[in-house]
Each structure stands twice: as C-alpha cells, then as structure tokens.
C-alpha cells in the first residue's frame, strides 16, 4: 500500500501469534480488520443527499478552488460500520476498570450528554444578544458558584479549555500581578518540584519565566528546606500539585504558602488531584493563590479519547482583578459578559483573552449536572470513597508489590518497580500483561521521583468486587514475574487488536497522513 512497509526491518521481534489469529479475511470474530476511509473510496458514493447548486465566480475574488480536495466517497452504512468497528478497538471507562493515575477515570453519567444536547443549550450561538442567553449565563454563573464554594476562593476564570490551559491562565494572572507591581524585570523565576507534571514547567516557560526545580524528600513530599533556600526577590511563584503526584497530601503546605508569600511570590496549585479532597478541604484555606480544576477529571465529564476538557481556574483576592476576559457581570438588565479588556469595570485589570468565545459550555453543562446530582454530601462521599479505594489497593497489594512511601495515601497509590527487581520484567511489561487480563494499565514511569513508577487511581466509581478481582489478578501476575516467566510478559499483550507497536520507526520516519498509492506503470 503506502509507506508503512518501510518499517519492516526495524520491527521488534515478537512471540507466537495469538491462537486463532490466522483467518482468511484478517478479521477475528468481533474484532474486524478495518481499512482507512481513504482506502474505501468509491467514485459516486456519498453519505449526504444535497442538491447540486451551480454558483458563478462573480463574488469569489478569483479564488475558486482549482483542484479536488481528495476526500473519499462513502455511503452512510459504510460510515456507520467504519466508526463502530473502530470504536470496538478502544478501551473506555464504559469497557472496564481504568486505574490510570492522575487521570481520574471515573464513570461519566449519561445525564450530562442528554442535558448538553437540550434545545436552548446545545444550539446557542456564542454571540447572540445577552437578552436571549440569560439561562446560559445563569448556568455558567451557577457552576462558578459551586466551584468557588468548593474551593473557598473568591473568583474563578471560566474560559480555560483544559488543565494545561488553566495552568497557563493562572501563571499569566501571576505574571500580570507582578507586572502591575513593577517587578516583571526582577521576578523571573518559578519553582517547580521534580515530581510535577510536565505541563508545569512548560507552562511557566510559556509565560516567559525560567524554571528552577525543587527536589522531593524521602517521604515523597516537597523538600521544604530546599524550597525555602531557593526563595528570594527574584521568585515569581511556586507551582505545586496537592495532593501531589506521589498520591500524598503535602503535610507542610501551610508553611510553604506562608514562606512563598513572605518572599513576595504567589502560590500556584495544580488541581489535577482535587478529586481526593472535594468537600473536605478547600484550597482557599491552604494559602493557594490560584488553582485550575480539571472538570473532565474531578467532575466526570467524558475524556473523549483526549479532550475536550475544561480547566476553570480559581483565583485569590490578590489575583482576581487580573482574571482574563470574558467574565460574567450582573447589571440592571440581568447577566452579561465583559468580552474585551477595554470594557473592564472599575478595579478590574484583565490580563487579556486566552480562548475564542466564552469557554467550554458543553463541558460546563455536564459538570454542573454531575455536581447537582451529588449535592454537597454526595461530593464529600465521592472523594472519601476515592481515597478509601486507593488505600484498599495499597493495603491489599503492598505486601507483594513495593510501596516507596509509607502511610495513608490520597486518591491514588504509588508503587515502584523494586518488586520486579532481578525478574527481568519491567514496569512496561507488567502493564502490558494487565491489558490481556482486561484491565487498562495504571500510569507508568510517572512521577519521575521513583524508579519504574506504577501509579494507580481507582476512583470512587469502582465496586469492592472490581477491586478484589483486580487485586487477585495483580497478585497472580506478580507471582508469575517473580517465578521467572519473563517471556510471558515480554510477549504481552497477545489478545488485543494490535500487539506491541514499533514506536521507534514511527518516530524515525514519521508517516502522519495517508497518501494515495503511487501508480505502478510497470
């Protein structure tokens, strides 16, 4: 066909094929061999019925398209079957247990899907007159109220489109505040722990800050003495994840906040792990100046195979004036949006705009539906169950796997690969074997502060039976690894639509799109 044969010489050698893999068609029962849509093209087929309306070039400024786009023609049944078959090659929360640490893969209630599609919500244009969207603005304002109440913070910027975008929003607010103080030229450094998500240093850099890393201590927490030693008049702020990426609460967080503030810096908290403490601890009570929320994690909006999410960012009194446009204000006619810096009111100093229109409304609706369904008590029970489930895994696996940091964990539990020492089995191999057992693997090799990390986040959506089944499987796999059955792990997964893929060739000779096969004239 096309370029893909170029990878053959670099294919990693695998073991035997799965039983029954050899079929005439290439499909395996319910697992279908499915070509690309471009390979299914058939002249004259279409999936829509539209009239052919001729138009002249009179008002096209001479820019009518000269050549074809190249899109394939498919009928509707082909399209339905194609995407149905593709979906069957995916693992979702709907399929099974998905303990992917730091990703909070909890159940996605379908009521949110229904609500987001309601007439009067799903079909609103973002630039309708404010008088025609009062309900939509009220919905956003209500969600903002829930967020501010749960966080104990006075303000929230609603427009960030994702967690990393919320980080950007928070760090831009910090930079704007520093500029306002006339210290932009001197406060240029941001402190980020070694254990941080990669987005933290990348975000600081995107705001023009330099990044200085802080080590972790032997309890899996920030080394507070090292942090304090790095504070100074050139520090703009600290970016900290709490609960942290090792699944632990930063016990000295109040001390850290005080020290950062005393040095004239701001305290950014990465809210990726807020699910552990919703309803029990308010970030505003921890001395935090800004924190993004991942609505797609904590408040159960679907991840969609990689977005869209939403990353509303709560702001302290010190940073609230710098919140980006747009934001909602109440006036005599009801609710309206301030959409341009030029329209900002008294005392408001928005740092700019970070997204087209007003934010991820479709995600807001789903998150509010989730919050209203739970209510205050339900949210508290959810976070408690999430922490209980993680500690249950820790208790039931801690004797056969290795826990680098003692004590109670938050909503995720971290293991390292010491239990695989000298077995020849790596964290990756172990994870791939879990796939054959029907589980999505945990997060691997993150955080970077322990060797061969395995980070499990069960969430509150899982029953005790599911956890017990998972524990039994992992204990058996651990035993098998320790018994020296290395090849079993190296060959995994065996039962999946594809087995291990050659990522080296994919990166060496990137094939990022389909191209038509070259005609063979011979």
């Amino acid at each position: 066909m096309t370029d893909f044969s170029q990878g053959r010489t670099n294919v990693p050698m695998g073991g035997s094929q799965a039983p029954g893999a050899q079929t005439v068609s290439g499909s395996r029962g319910l697992e279908f061999a499915e070509p690309l849509i471009f390979e299914m093209h058939h002249e004259g087929r279409t999936g829509v019925d539209l009239p052919d309306v001729p138009v002249s070039d009179a008002r096209l400024n001479g820019m009518r398209r000269q050549g074809p786009v190249g899109l394939p023609g498919l009928s509707e049944p082909q399209v339905v079957r194609h995407y149905t078959r593709l979906s069957q090659k995916n693992y979702g929360i709907d399929s099974g247990f998905y303990p992917l640490g730091s990703c909070t893969m909890k159940h996605n209630p379908r009521l949110g899907e229904k609500a987001a599609r309601m007439a009067g919500l799903g079909d609103l244009h973002p630039l309708q007159p404010f008088s025609t969207v009062q309900g939509a603005l009220e919905l956003v304002d209500t969600l903002a109220h829930w967020i501010k109440t749960l966080c104990g913070m006075p303000a929230v910027a609603m427009s960030p489109a994702a967690g990393a975008h919320g980080e950007l929003c928070g760090m831009m607010a910090i930079k704007a505040a520093i500029e306002d103080r006339g210290e932009a030229a001197t406060r240029t450094r941001v402190l980020v722990p070694d254990s941080a998500h990669g987005t933290n240093p990348a975000t600081a850099a995107a705001c023009g800050f330099s990044v200085d890393s802080i080590p972790a201590n032997d309890r899996g927490r920030v080394d507070v003495a090292a942090l304090k030693a790095k504070l100074g008049p050139d520090v703009a702020g600290v970016m900290l994840t709490n609960p942290n990426t090792c699944g632990l609460f930063e016990t000295e967080i109040l001390d850290i906040a005080d020290a950062v503030h005393a040095a004239g810096g701001y305290f950014y908290c990465d809210g990726a792990n807020f699910n552990a403490i919703v309803g029990r601890v308010r970030p505003g009570d921890l001395g935090i100046d800004c924190m993004h929320l991942n609505l797609h994690k904590t408040f159960a909006t679907p991840h969609g195979g990689g977005g869209p999410g939403a990353g509303p960012t709560v702001l302290s009194d010190a940073l609230a004036p710098y919140a980006p446009v747009p934001y909602i204000v109440h006036d005599a006619k009801g609710l309206r949006l301030v959409e341009r810096q030029a329209d900002a009111g008294e005392g408001e100093k928005p740092f700019g705009r970070i997204k087209g229109f007003h934010g991820q409304m479709g995600v807001f609706i789903r998150a509010l539906v989730y919050m209203m369904s739970h209510g205050a008590e339900g949210l508290l029970q959810s976070s408690t169950d999430a922490v209980l489930n993680a500690n249950y895994l820790r208790a039931r696996l801690g004797d056969v796997m290795s826990v680098p940091f003692d004590g109670i964990c938050m909503h995720e539990v971290l293991f390292d690969d010491a239990f695989l020492h000298d077995t020849g089995v790596t964290t990756l191999d172990f994870a791939k074997a879990m796939i054959d057992e029907g589980f999505h693997p945990m997060t691997m090799y993150f955080p970077l502060v322990v060797h061969g990390a395995l980070l499990m986040e069960p969430t509150e959506s899982e029953s005790k039976e599911t956890l017990d089944g998972y524990v039994a499987t992992l204990r058996a796999l651990t035993e098998r690894a320790k018994a020296g059955d290395v090849q079993f792990f190296k060959d995994a997964p065996r039962l999946t639509p594809r087995r291990r893929l050659d990522e080296t060739t994919a990166a060496r000779k990137p094939v990022l799109r389909w191209t038509p096969p070259v005609e063979d004239n011979a």
């Binding site: 670099n10 990522e503 080296t504 990166a507 060496r508």
Partner: protein, 124 residues
C-alpha cells in the same frame, strides 16, 4: 590525537587545532534507539556550554553541548539522515560535529578515558 570526556557524556577528539565531538556509549544506552538527530551547520560560532546538537529517542530528548568554544567546521549529515547509524559506532562514524578550538586550555579540566570510566562507574 587525544580524546577527552565531559560529565555530559560527550567525547572530544583533538587533532591539532580542530576537534571532533560525539556522545559516549553510556549516553547512547541511557537514550535508547535514536530517532532524530540535529547537527549544527558549518560556520556557527559556539561558546563552551552552548546547545550545539539535539538527540532524541522515542521517550527522551537531550541537547549535545559544545564541550569547548570555537567554530563549527562540519556537521555529520550522515547521522542526521539516519540516526540509527550512531548506535553502531558512537565513538567513530557516529560523530556529531567537527569544530575549531578557540581556547585549547578549556580541555585541561576534562576527563581522560580512565577518569571517565571511573565517573560512569560511580553513577547509579
């Protein structure tokens, strides 16, 4: 010709007032299979410690720093075209770039082969 080593796991082979720079076996083992290499263009002036080249594997990326100050005389286009060739011979045909030396005394503080071996043995 003498070969010296840096703590960033680069080697520099000096012959007269020109030098050849590459990465060590240890660096290669840490990175894994290389998928991308970018080498500097001839004529670029480098100060010691400047980012001179880039190496990437599937899961890691690293800069190759100028071990000394000078001007690049040649980048190894063969490894940029096919990064896998570095793996076969990192100390030979897998060299990264050649450069002139503006201050040969910068070599004095670097490790020789024995000192580098001891340094690597001391790492984890």
């Amino acid at each position: 010709m003498s070969v010296k080593y840096t703590q960033d796991h680069e080697w520099i082979a000096v012959a007269g007032d020109t030098a050849t720079v590459g990465i060590t076996d240890y660096a290669l083992a840490q990175l894994g299979d290389l998928v991308f290499v970018e080498v500097p263009e001839a004529g670029r002036t480098l100060s010691k410690g400047d980012e001179a080249a880039v190496v990437e594997s599937v899961k890691a990326a690293s800069e190759v720093y100028a071990p000394v100050s000078g001007e690049v005389t040649e980048g190894n286009s063969a490894i940029a075209d096919d990064p896998s060739t570095v793996s076969g011979d990192p100390a030979g045909s897998g060299w990264f770039f050649k450069m002139t030396l503006s201050d040969p005394s910068e070599l004095d503080a670097m490790m020789d082969a024995d000192a580098y071996k001891a340094y690597v043995d001391g790492l984890d």
